[in-house]
Amino acid sequence: MRVGELLTAGFLALLSLYLMWKSSELPIGYISGTGPGGGAWPFWLSAIMLICCFCTAFNWWRGRTPASRSEEPVLDSHGWRSLIFVGGGIIGFVALISIISMYGGIAVFLFYYLWFLGRHGLLLSLTISLVTPIALFFFFEGAMQITMPSGLPFTDPVFNVLYDIIY
């Protein structure tokens, strides 16, 4: 945790510098007749962010924060495993939306989580994975009239059947 806090402060300081640089693409000072330039607000806020990062590093050096006094790892093996399996599952879900549609992605993600990570029974996992996207389809597309991504054309036959029910 100790090293992690300093590294995080360093990363955020770099981010602040990047934001200052990007903000300075527009004027950052006071322009007579038009007021503060378009980049002034984000530039000076980013500058405050940078100062805060230095303060955090200073506090770290003085051992004032709990993390700066902790010798525990940021993530142990269990932490890394859950981050990779759960975080990776979410990334996979979002990536699948453009291919097999939002509802297809929901079905696959729910089945993966319930059956593989949650260790639930096959019947329960399959039921929830199939019923939830269908219920969400009727809620979003039917009731709220919000169209979700339908993925690549091979999903069209399924959507045609569902749209026939709504319209």
Binding site: G38, L45, T56, R64, P66, V86, I90, L114
Partner: protein, 506 residues
């Protein structure tokens, strides 16, 4: 006396069978729309606006106002049960509502939210009825310096909310404000902060993208990591006796927060462009400051649920005031309501109270009826919301992820934003590990787009002289209070000895 007669007439109008039916349907729809992460009163009112052309204008606006009411009640549901604020107005409710739910006291949190919302709505209705024209003129006297001073006050309360680590709290506020500046410069129209030259940033970063990323994804990842996947399922129970006991406890422990939220929320709500979010946040901050047990805030304080919930309902009624009396919408939802009124041939403004007396008082009467309907319907549905919490965590967690992604897409309709949500979620997980408070960033992204133009307009008015924030009669005291609130915790932090801070008990 005239006012009471007019109000009685208005209530009779809103109790007509068609209008009463519209109120019940509107409140119920609004409750469920508001409870859905990603969807709020704006979505409900906008989507159902075309439906209202089937009924007379007075019934139509009553229906939309009922949806607005229901959604304000519903916003607390996802904040408490799922820990995801569906709308910016419900962010402050998560601070104590979610901890209460984790302690198995979700029913207390939900009952407190419902009762505080009811009281907030009722107080606002009474103030609205008695002082509408007078308050409208007060609201109109708020220029850019006053609104910026108010925003500064809201940011000052963030510093108090963010815990002991002041640099990290200020970093979080500034980060949220910078994220709110992404897109286009509002004054010159030039592209600004198009990060890594991705065109997706041109449309800006919405509040929901950050809120769902932080609370829907980051918070869940953090919970899974902290509990090592072995979340002890809370088994809240719900009985009539339990509701009565919760109501008693909510009244006893939440009256102060309710009173603060009801009054403060209304006065912030009537200010054009301010709305319920700063109102609920400031009420939370003030409730914490005046509390005898401020250390309980953030860990499940009943006042911490009551104050923002009373405030956001009170503010939602308050924001109707500038819309009806001046034609200035106080929130995005009232902007859509305003559009609806114009379509129906009603012209909001000072003449509305004279030219369309029956319509105006029918609407005001419906606020009272909607408020009663909303609290009853909300209390009736609490067992359903509680039931969600009884689900095993390995079912609840993927459901929250799915609702976050689907609800986030429904709100923004852009896959870029969904990817951004995932990035924010993972980033929030690591920032939380190192005690960076994230709520201030989420609230700052909402208030940033209000604060920046008012600051620039004020400085333009004063030719760059910042004393404008101190010399004006309304802006001056607000600015001074805000600066005191900002610098007091900072001074305390600097004066605290290292030895003392090393002692966890301190």
């Amino acid at each position: 006396m005239d006012v009471l007669l007019l109000l009685a007439d208005g209530m009779l109008v809103s109790l007509q069978p068609l209008n009463l039916m519209m109120i019940i349907i509107g409140v119920t729809l609004g409750l469920f729309i508001g409870a859905m992460p990603g969807l709020g009163s704006v979505n409900g009112v906008a989507i159902l606006l075309p439906v209202t052309f089937l009924v007379p204008p007075s019934s139509a606006i009553i229906f939309l106002a009922a949806i607005y009411y229901g959604a304000m009640y519903g916003g607390a549901v996802s904040s408490i049960t799922l820990g995801i604020p569906g709308a910016s107005t419900a962010v402050a409710t998560t601070f104590d509502g979610r901890p209460l739910a984790k302690q198995g006291r979700a029913s207390l949190a939900l009952v407190t939210a419902a009762l505080a919302s009811f009281v907030g709505g009722t107080v606002a209705n009474i103030l609205f009825t008695l002082f509408a024209p007078l308050l409208a003129s007060v609201a109109l006297s708020f220029g850019p310096p006053e609104v910026f001073a108010l925003m500064l006050l809201a940011f000052a309360t963030f510093v108090g909310l963010g815990g002991d680590d002041i640099p990290k709290t200020i970093f979080s506020i500034c980060f949220g404000l910078v994220l709110g500046a992404v897109g286009f410069d509002q004054i010159s129209g030039a592209p600004r902060l198009v990060l890594f030259d991705y065109n997706g940033f041109l449309q800006g970063i919405g509040f929901l993208v950050l809120a769902i990323g932080v609370y829907g994804i980051g918070e869940m990842l953090w919970t899974i990591d902290q509990t090592r996947g072995d979340v002890t399922a809370t088994t809240p129970k719900m009985t009539m006796k339990g509701v009565a006991a919760d109501a008693k406890e909510a009244t006893k422990r939440g009256w102060k927060g309710t009173a603060i939220g009801s009054l403060l929320g209304f006065f912030v709500g009537i200010l054009p462009a301010a709305g319920a979010t700063p109102g609920s946040l400031m009420s939370y901050g003030v409730a914490k400051i005046v509390s005898r047990n401020p250390e309980e805030f953030g860990k499940g304080a009943v006042d911490g649920v009551a104050a923002p919930e009373a405030a956001n309902n009170s503010a939602s009624t308050g924001s109707m005031l500038p819309m009806l009396t001046l034609g200035i919408p106080g929130s995005p939802t009232t902007a859509i309501l305003l559009g609806g009124m114009v379509i129906w041939g009603l012209v909001p403004g000072p003449r509305l109270f004279v030219d369309e007396e029956q319509f105006v008082w029918g609407l005001i009467g419906s606020f009272y009826i909607s408020n009663v309907a909303a609290v009853l319907i909300n209390l009736a549905f609490i067992p359903v919301f509680i039931w969600m919490l009884r689900m095993p965590f390995t079912i609840l967690a993927p459901m929250i992820f799915v609702l976050s992604i689907a609800g986030g897409y429904a709100a923004t309709r852009d896959m870029f934003d969904i990817w951004l949500m995932v990035v924010f979620g993972i980033g929030a997980f690591f920032m939380r590990k190192f005690d960076y408070p994230l709520a201030p960033a989420v609230l700052a992204i909402v208030l940033g787009p209000i604060a920046e133009p008012t600051l620039r307009q004020s400085l333009l008015l004063s030719s760059g002289d910042p004393s404008i924030f101190f010399t004006r009669p309304v802006a001056g005291p607000i600015t001074v209070v805000a600066l005191i609130l900002i610098f007091l915790p900072a001074l305390k932090f600097l004066r605290r000895s290292p030895a003392k801070s090393k002692n966890p008990a301190s």
